[in-house]
């Protein structure tokens, strides 16, 4: 959902062509009627399924007593820390790897092309399926990872889901596994929009190898990188399926993130208002991120 993305990388060096507003003829009486008729479906679903739920959610989470209750729950404190770790580590590691790997996939040999096709599979597969599979790799001493461990070391592996740090690491690794291909594709697109002459000029000036990466590619992609990171942070703050299926909060609900915590409060323990409050507690982080994101998008012309 919010996951499957859509940044389009704009060529950083290319100025945007501004277009005249469409239909140079004036919008006349009957056209206004048509325009309104065309917009009614979108406005209707926006009001019914975005504006109303948002208002409803704000109303549900408007009682200050809820937040006192929330902050006094030690599980909430753990959840908030987990969410920060999940976003900070998951998004940054993913973006950095995606940036590097996009360079690797600029290699146009046949095997790199075929590898790219396979490499993008996690993006197309349902989160439910792959995260459950990863869960099964870890959850018992019969999982694939334990079997591998036994085959290599000859002794039993650790019980992954009994250790909070290992379970949280598993969540982050699974998250990176699922979303790395997608962002790699975004960076590949961004790299492809860099004109070759810039590289040729840099080559003449003696920049090659890692210098080319640091002094040419990265500065040109910096805007795309920043916008992608901000957008991914906002989405990852609300990530639900990863933690819900990979660790399911195990051990003892110490690896929950906000989305799964709110879900459990609302639908397992029957405190929907507390669940909404938990998700609203992400707003102080989310609103600045969104504002920053919008400003970067406006200022740099990176297209969302």
């Amino acid at each position: 959902m919010s996951n499957t993305l859509r940044v389009s990388a704009a060529g950083p060096a290319i100025p945007r062509v501004s277009r005249r507003p469409p239909w140079r003829l004036r919008l006349q009486g009957s056209d206004t009627a048509w325009a309104i008729a065309f917009l009614v479906p979108y406005v209707a679903i926006f009001v019914a399924f975005i504006a109303y739920p948002v208002a409803f959610g704000l109303w549900m989470g408007s009682n200050p007593a809820l937040y006192r209750l929330l902050f006094s729950d030690p599980r909430y404190v753990i959840t908030a820390i987990n969410t920060l770790l999940f976003v900070a580590i998951g998004v940054n590691v993913k973006m950095f790897l995606a940036f590097l790997l996009s360079g690797f996939f600029m290699n146009r040999s046949w095997w790199a092309r075929s590898l790219l096709v396979i490499y993008l599979l996690p993006w197309a597969l349902p989160g439910l399926v792959v995260f459950t599979s990863i869960h099964f790799m870890l959850v018992t001493q019969w999982g694939l990872l334990d079997s591998l461990w036994r085959a290599i070391t000859g002794s039993d592996g650790p019980l992954f889901m009994v250790s909070t740090p290992i379970a949280m690491t598993a969540n982050i690794v699974a998250y990176i596994w699922k979303w790395l291909p997608f962002w790699t594709l975004i960076f590949i697109a961004a790299r492809m929009s860099i004109p070759q002459d810039i590289y040729d000029a840099a080559e003449i000036d003696g920049a090659s190898g890692y210098r080319r990466l640091i002094y040419v590619t990265f500065p040109l992609l910096a805007n795309v990188y920043l916008v992608a990171t901000l957008l991914s942070c906002v989405w990852t703050l609300g990530d639900f399926p990863t933690v819900y299926f990979v660790s399911s909060g195990a051990p003892a609900r110490t690896t929950d993130v906000l989305a799964t915590y709110g879900f459990h409060e609302a639908f397992d323990f029957g405190y929907p208002n507390l669940g909404v409050a938990a998700m609203m507690s992400a707003l102080p982080l989310m609103i600045p991120l969104v504002i920053l994101l919008m400003r970067r998008v406006r200022a740099t012309g990176v297209q969302l």
């Binding site: 859509r6 990388a9 277009r19 239909w23 599979l121 989160g127 399926v129 879900f263």
Partner: protein, 295 residues
């Protein structure tokens, strides 16, 4: 890196050849690591699905007695969690295709109006779409659940269709507005001079020319609806109304752990998105990179 520079200075052909081989070798090594990394969880699904029920806890890297029996059980609906499997598969298709149709219809109409007709407050609509685009859908789940009950749509496929279309439409509007910039406005003007009304321009000029963007967005909406779990789970609760995703996750509540059946179901459930991905890969990638390609 100093090796590179000094190598240049030495300039011996042997050194260049060694360097090229080692770079190529490292690339292939990285490729193998990526292949293993990508395929491990997917291989694990096969490994469990091919197990016979007694071997699930054997913990082997390859099933000791590989059998396709679990696939037979799924296909013949021979297990109580799977009693409505094909019906649920059909439900998933209904949700996916309807979400696609609604998203394409609403998205193309909205972007046509904002992009091609002179509309003073068009930016408001674009901003509203942008807001929808960045809000994580899971944060709206709880109020959404309440609201669907108020609307009387709970446990009805249309609730999921409407919810997912709402979340897919902003993307549709973006891609359509990007893509429609490549369609000359003169076409619209010529049609208007010939007396076409906006609907005719939309239907006979705009839509046919937007076909590639429609395919990209349609694939996206279909994948989104097919792969989504949270809203499916919240809205649909009876076996007759469930989609495959909800039915599949039910296995996780089971005590008898028929994991091989679960993974066999998961593989069948994952087949349509894989086929869709391979069939429309170019369009999907184009959808993502549409802005980038055009600068």
């Amino acid at each position: 890196m100093s090796a590179t520079t000094s190598g240049r200075q030495f300039g011996s052909p042997m050194f260049y050849r060694l360097q090229r081989w080692s770079v190529e070798g490292l690339c292939i090594l990285l490729g193998l690591v990526l292949l293993f990394w990508t395929l491990a969880p997917i291989y694990n699904m096969w490994n469990i699905a091919l197990d016979s029920h007694d071997d699930i806890f054997a913990g082997t890297l390859w099933p000791a007695h590989p059998s396709v029996d679990s696939f037979r059980v799924v296909v013949t609906q021979d297990f109580w969690y799977l009693a409505h499997f094909w019906h649920q598969f059909g439900n998933s298709f209904i949700v996916g295709l309807s979400t696609m149709a609604v998203t394409l219809g609403i998205g193309s109409l909205a972007s046509f109006t904002v992009g091609r007709m002179r509309l003073k407050k068009g930016w408001m609509l674009t901003n509203a779409a942008l807001m929808t685009y960045v809000i994580p859908a899971s944060f709206l789940a709880i109020p959404f659940y309440r609201i669907m009950q108020i609307y009387g749509l709970a446990n009805h496929l249309s609730s999921v269709i409407l919810a997912l279309s709402t979340f897919a439409t902003p993307y549709a509007i973006f891609i359509f507005s990007q893509y429609s910039k490549s369609i000359p406005m003169e076409l619209d003007e010529a049609a208007r001079i010939d007396g076409a009304n906006p609907w005719q321009i939309y239907w006979k000029i705009y839509l046919p020319l937007m076909a590639p963007a429609m395919v990209a967005v349609g694939t996206y909406a279909l994948l989104l609806a097919w792969n989504e779990y949270l809203y499916n789970f919240l809205m649909l609760s009876t076996p007759e109304s469930m989609t495959v995703a909800v039915a599949l996750a039910q296995f996780l509540n089971s005590d008898e752990s028929p994991w091989n059946l679960m993974m066999a179901t998961a593989i069948l459930y994952a087949l349509p998105p894989i086929l869709l991905y391979y069939g429309f890969r170019r369009y999907m990638a184009a959808g993502l990179t549409m802005g980038g390609v055009k600068g």
